[in-house]
């Protein structure tokens, strides 16, 4: 297990460097010049050159990338801004704020959004999936199937906007969504995020319902489930201990992917509800050609997905003893 993890973490680091590299070089293909943006409306050539120098854009792209990468591990010095200690993600081109701090500031919003929503959609999705599987062909199954189809075809900007209109502005059931740190006010934190959680969950639940239902139906006809019944296990323990066990693997798989993607930034959700998370940060970074911020958000997104993949693979071995990690 330890060897497996070490190997995977090293592999992940390599992948992240490659992704960063590709993003970095792609940035310079875009016909946008951050130096010109920083320089302002009236921009004499010498000011432009100065701006370019200040932003560190006057070096070859490869050199810039290496200094960026080095900054993460050992920190780096910025002319005029002083030393940026490791892990240094540079300073924003737009407001010269240290990017690392911005990320640390924004990440809790995205993580809170992700975790809250995933608790809801995982619980509901799996529960409705089990019920639908046990009530195959009955009214409950049909309701679950139809609503999951409807849920899956919904878009967050549609459901979210409607929910905002009816529940926040018209009925005043929910407060205006906002992020309050849990350390400051746990109740406010919960209330401020509840609506985004529910809306996000509506869309994601469908996947889990369908996945759970189909694998559960399959598993219920497995020989070992029949054996469990033949040895007198009660219906409940047959379902929970035997049939459900086999459905965990596919559920964990899609859950890992979803979680990774959400941490990488629920861009549309954050925009719909006006939450200042990683997703909105990344969109702004693109808009303003803010290379350091952009790189940081890419790193978070890629890191979340790669990291979740490792967690999922490790979990496979915990769930299924036939999986041996080496």
């Amino acid at each position: 297990m330890l060897r497996f993890l070490t190997r995977r973490v090293i592999g992940a680091a390599v992948i992240l460097v490659i992704i960063s590299g590709v993003t970095f070089f792609l940035f310079f293909v875009i016909p946008a010049d951050p130096a010109r943006l920083a320089c302002g409306k009236v921009c004499p050539p010498e000011t432009l050159a100065q701006a370019r120098h200040n932003l560190g854009l006057d070096h070859p792209v490869a050199v810039q990338f290496v200094s960026w990468l080095g900054g993460i591990f050992v920190g780096r010095d910025y002319p005029g801004l002083g030393n940026c200690p490791a892990p240094c993600l540079g300073y924003s081109f737009v407001n010269r704020a240290p990017v690392f701090e911005t990320i640390i500031d924004r990440l809790p919003v995205t993580i809170a959004l992700t975790i809250g929503a995933s608790v809801i959609f995982l619980t509901f999705g799996v529960a409705t999936g089990i019920i639908a599987a046990l009530r195959q062909g009955k009214a409950l199954d049909k309701i679950a199937s139809i609503s999951s189809l409807v849920g899956a075809s919904m878009q967050i900007y549609f459901v979210g906007t409607l929910a905002m209109y009816f529940f926040v502005y018209q009925a005043h059931i929910f407060p205006q969504p906002k992020y309050i740190p849990i350390t400051e006010d746990p109740v406010g934190w919960f209330n401020g995020l509840l609506l985004p959680w529910i809306v996000l969950a509506i869309i994601f639940t469908a996947n889990y319902t369908r996945m759970t239902r189909s694998t559960m139906v399959e598993n219920l006809s497995e020989d070992y489930v029949r054996t469990a019944r033949a040895k007198g296990m009660s219906g409940r323990s047959v379902v929970m201990r035997f049939a459900l066990r086999g459905t965990l693997t596919p559920i964990i798989t899609i859950f890992g992917v979803d979680l990774g993607q959400l941490i990488g930034g629920a861009i549309i959700t954050e925009t719909t509800f006006g939450l200042q998370g990683i997703g909105r940060l990344s969109v702004r970074a693109v808009d303003y050609s803010d290379l350091p911020t952009l790189m940081a958000t890419v790193l978070v997104a890629a890191g979340a997905i790669v990291g979740m993949n490792i967690v999922v693979d490790a979990l496979y071995a915990v769930i299924d003893p036939r999986v041996r990690l080496s």
Partner: protein
């Protein structure tokens, strides 16, 4: 009588129609004896025994008749009383021990679980019992192997573990559904020996479902031959194998490879295919495949359904007279055609 099945009928309602899986089947099993149920795939052997355990989905399977186990009627018994019975007094082992054991739990846990469920003992004494059972079925180093998962066992060992799991509560009746089909021949013999040995020790009644007459010959006291959900022949193993009366039983015996048979004599499989259980042939369900149809004529064989006769002892469901059967049995099939 320990297990007495009377006029058992199992129908499945499907989109294509009603599948008559078992049709008015009756048989008995006494304590300490083995009944071999023989027939082709789809002849209703497994369906019958899943009905004994009450494992059919009550929404799709319509079951009627009577299954009396040690005086208790099982058809229509409550779910909780069936759960109490299953694994404790009636146990079952299945064909493929790899898929029949849960891949997610250790062998020991799966055995101990049954014992705990039915005997309400502590975790540790259930574990001790699991180790004891593994030892009894001949698993070497049971104290170490008890924590293994099924995939760490060989095929034969898995079936031994299955048997240990089935017998952990000392059931009065063991239903073995093709317990050796998935195993190779040497292991097959070991498993059958083990079953007989355990039966001698504990007096368990065994219902052995198989399509292999060789298995029946070595282990069963009585035999029931099934065709298309019906009993076509019943008797002691000796009677049925030495003096088979039903043309289908002859067919089964003729399609069996044997070391004593001359090499140049081809196997004589039963011609044709088993009938659809939705549209069963009228009369004797075997008549479309029977080589002796012309001896009696289609009107007879496709007319009324032949009943198993005589009612007790060696009986079969065929309109041929005993004398005809005795004569035909002595002649190879070719001559009568």
């Amino acid at each position: 009588m320990f297990l007495e099945v009377n006029e058992l009928t199992v129908d499945f309602h499907t989109e294509d129609g009603v599948v008559h899986a078992v049709d008015r089947l009756s048989f008995q099993v006494e304590r300490g004896t083995t009944l071999g149920i023989v027939g082709e795939s789809g002849s209703g052997k497994s369906v019958t025994n899943l009905a004994v355990l009450g494992l059919h989905n009550p929404e799709t399977a319509k079951i009627s008749g009577s299954i009396a186990f040690d005086g208790q009627e099982l058809i229509g018994a409550s779910r909780s009383s069936m759960e109490k019975l299953r694994g404790d007094r009636i146990a079952m082992i299945f064909q493929d021990p790899l898929t029949s054991l849960s891949p997610f739990h250790t062998i020991g846990a799966q055995i101990a679980e049954v014992y705990r469920k039915h005997k309400g003992v502590s975790r540790s004494s259930a574990r001790d019992r699991a180790i004891e059972m593994l030892d009894r079925v001949g698993i070497p180093q049971p104290k170490l192997r008890v924590d293994d998962y099924p995939h760490q066992f060989s095929g034969g060992m898995r079936q031994r573990a299955m048997i240990a799991m089935a017998l952990v509560c000392d059931p009065g009746l063991l239903i073995a559904d093709e317990p050796t089909t998935a195993l190779d021949v040497t292991v097959q013999a070991q498993i059958l020996d083990l079953l007989s040995e355990l039966q001698e020790q504990s007096g368990t009644a065994i219902v052995l479902i198989t399509h292999d007459l060789g298995v029946v010959a070595n282990t069963a006291h009585n035999v029931l031959v099934m065709y298309a959900g019906r009993a076509v022949e019943r008797g002691t193993t000796h009677e049925v194998l030495r003096e088979p009366r039903h043309p289908y039983t002859w067919g089964l015996l003729g399609s069996m490879p044997s070391l004593r048979r001359p090499v140049d004599l081809p196997l004589a499989p039963v011609r044709g295919t088993p009938p659809s259980l939705i549209h069963l042939p009228s009369g004797c369900p075997f008549h479309p495949r029977c080589d002796y149809l012309k001896l009696l004529g289609k009107e007879v064989c496709a007319g009324d359904r032949p009943e198993l006769s005589p009612e007790h002892g060696h009986g079969d469901a065929c309109y041929l007279t005993l004398k005809q059967k005795a004569e035909l049995r002595e002649r190879p099939v070719e001559e009568t055609k």
